[in-house]
């Protein structure tokens, strides 16, 4: 890659979302905005080798994309529509302040992409396409669907935004808390899909986790008054720091207990802990700060034996009050098993199983199997491992369970 290509690639990662977000505001047309942004980056590749990289690449790209949009509108539209749209495009580029005083177009874009009137799949795809700049083919690969399917999903979402009148704005104060938690949920889902793939050969897809962290970083910067956004970023960093140690050289899954902690990413941990400390000082912790605080307990422990499981159990208890969820209860049971012994954890897991609240969730029988193994109840452990194996979604996790099943003589 030449220096210029590298400069364009860097500008793409840095500026794509900004250029698209600005063009959507100016034209109200999502397809036109994307096409003109693409044209602007192509023009940069052609012109920057001769003209040099501009001082403010973002401003250069936005202006180029805007001029391209003006050209296309002049050529293609009827007089009345053309005059109206050209007038809008010729107006000063500075957006008006919203009710909430936020000015960055990318924040409008995030909220519109994550609007609850779109399906969750559409929200994720639209965020990756318009804000992060992934191609339709890349997003299709990441979610294991055909490019045609993903293209259809994106088109349908953009049409709904236009035809149903989904607003392009940061929600007003009375809607902001609810919509913000919706945005955080989309970014967290994106991260989890990368961190622990729901299907396929690979357990981890680093490209998605990297995009999720980049978007969470952007959101935290754009919403400085939202400590949960900072909490989400800290949570992602603390989990991602363990990514390399989570799989061994053969691609096999390594449990937290057995991970080589020297392979944890110290820079990510330091950043995550620093962000979390700041965010925890700002009012009662919400679900993302609580989960980050749990991840921090692991990150701070030099060896598995140093882990403060009692504190983790308390944090899961608080999380359960905010987010009543059987998965949270299962994790609390694991923490209690570690703090007070496997029998105490097993009682909670058995209670969950009896209530039938986590049907077809492989981690329930897998956790039960592990606790039975620790209690040396081998036959029961083997039966639970077999049940987990019938439900496990990815290959490395399947192989891990098979190794454990062999250990208990199953």
């Amino acid at each position: 890659m030449t220096d210029i290509e590298a400069a364009v690639a860097a500008a793409f990662r840095q500026e794509w979302g900004h250029v698209v977000a600005t063009l959507i505001r100016m034209t109200g047309n999502w397809d036109l905005a994307e096409e003109c942004a693409q044209d602007a980056f192509a023009t940069a590749l052609a012109r920057w080798p001769a003209d040099g990289v501009p001082d403010r690449p973002g401003a250069w790209l936005t202006t180029t994309a805007r001029n391209r949009a003006l050209d296309r509108l002049r050529r293609s539209r009827t007089e009345a529509v053309k005059l109206q749209e050209v007038a809008a495009l010729s107006a000063p580029a500075e957006p008006r302040a919203d009710d909430s005083g936020v000015r960055d177009d990318r924040l409008r874009l995030i909220f519109t992409c994550c609007h609850p009137a779109l399906t969750l799949e559409a929200r994720v795809a639209l965020t990756l396409r318009t804000l992060a700049g992934l191609t339709t083919a890349e997003i299709a690969r990441a979610f294991l669907v055909s490019e045609a399917t993903m293209a259809k999903r994106l088109t349908r979402a953009k049409h709904k935004i236009r035809d149903a009148g989904i607003p392009y704005r940061v929600p007003p104060a009375h809607l902001l808390p609810e919509r913000t938690s919706g945005v955080l949920a989309v970014l967290y889902l994106l991260f989890n899909e990368g961190y622990s793939a729901s299907a396929g050969e690979q357990v981890r897809r680093g490209d998605l986790t990297a995009e999720a962290i980049r978007l969470a970083r952007l959101l935290a910067a754009l919403m400085p008054d939202e400590p949960e956004a900072v909490g989400l970023l800290a949570l992602m960093l603390l989990h991602d720091a363990r990514g390399a140690a989570r799989l061994d050289d053969d691609g096999e899954l390594v449990t937290l207990e057995d991970q080589d902690r020297s392979r944890w990413n110290a820079a990510e941990i330091a950043e995550g802990l620093g962000l979390l400390d700041g965010a925890l000082r700002r009012g009662p912790a919400g679900p993302y700060r609580l989960q980050a605080a749990i991840a921090a307990c692991h990150a701070r422990a030099a060896t598995p034996a140093d882990t403060d499981w009692a504190r983790i159990a308390v944090l899961y208890g608080e999380l359960r009050r905010l987010v009543p969820s059987a998965v949270v209860e299962l994790n609390r049971a694991v923490a209690i098993a570690m703090a007070s012994g496997p029998a105490a954890g097993l009682a909670l897991v058995d209670d969950l199983a009896a209530r039938g609240v986590l049907p077809a969730y492989y981690l329930l029988p897998a956790t039960r199997a592990d606790l039975l193994r620790r209690l040396d109840r081998r036959d029961e452990a083997a039966a639970s491992y077999r049940e987990a194996l019938s439900l496990v979604p990815t290959e490395p996790e399947r192989r891990f369970l098979q190794r454990r099943l062999a250990e208990v003589g199953g």
């Binding site: 009137a117 035809d163 149903a164 009148g165 989904i166 607003p167």
Partner: protein, 116 residues
């Protein structure tokens, strides 16, 4: 933009629906609340029960008329309202505060084509 709010739910037995003693219809406070937010209630009404519905088809040669709604489902269209407002968020607000929603019903929000 204009939106139609399609009020869906199960029909109530006739006597339960007949509590018309109040000074004003149940939708009046809702309409006032909407007005206060700049949302205009253009028109709207409850519909007569599904037992009064007639479904009409035209296959080119002849008109086919049958008794009952176009789809036999547990939930039926009970009424409609047309509102004029800025965007979908306002329409969602109007639907969330609709008297039928407050009583456990469901409202489908559909933009009206001509308003786009």
């Amino acid at each position: 933009m204009r939106y139609m709010l399609l009020v869906c739910g199960q029909e109530e037995p006739e006597d339960a629906a007949a509590d018309h003693d109040a000074d004003e219809p149940c939708w009046a406070p809702w309409a006032r609340e909407l007005q206060g937010r700049g949302v205009l209630l253009v028109e709207g009404s409850q519909l007569q029960p599904v037992s009064t519905a007639t479904t009409v088809r035209n296959d080119g040669d002849q008109v086919l008329v049958s008794d009952g709604p176009f789809a036999e489902t547990k939930e039926q269209i009970l009424g409609y309202d047309v509102i004029e407002c800025a965007d979908l968020d306002e329409a969602i607000y109007a639907a969330a505060r609709h008297p039928a929603t407050l009583k456990g019903g469901v409202v489908e929000v559909r933009p009206i084509l001509a308003s786009v």
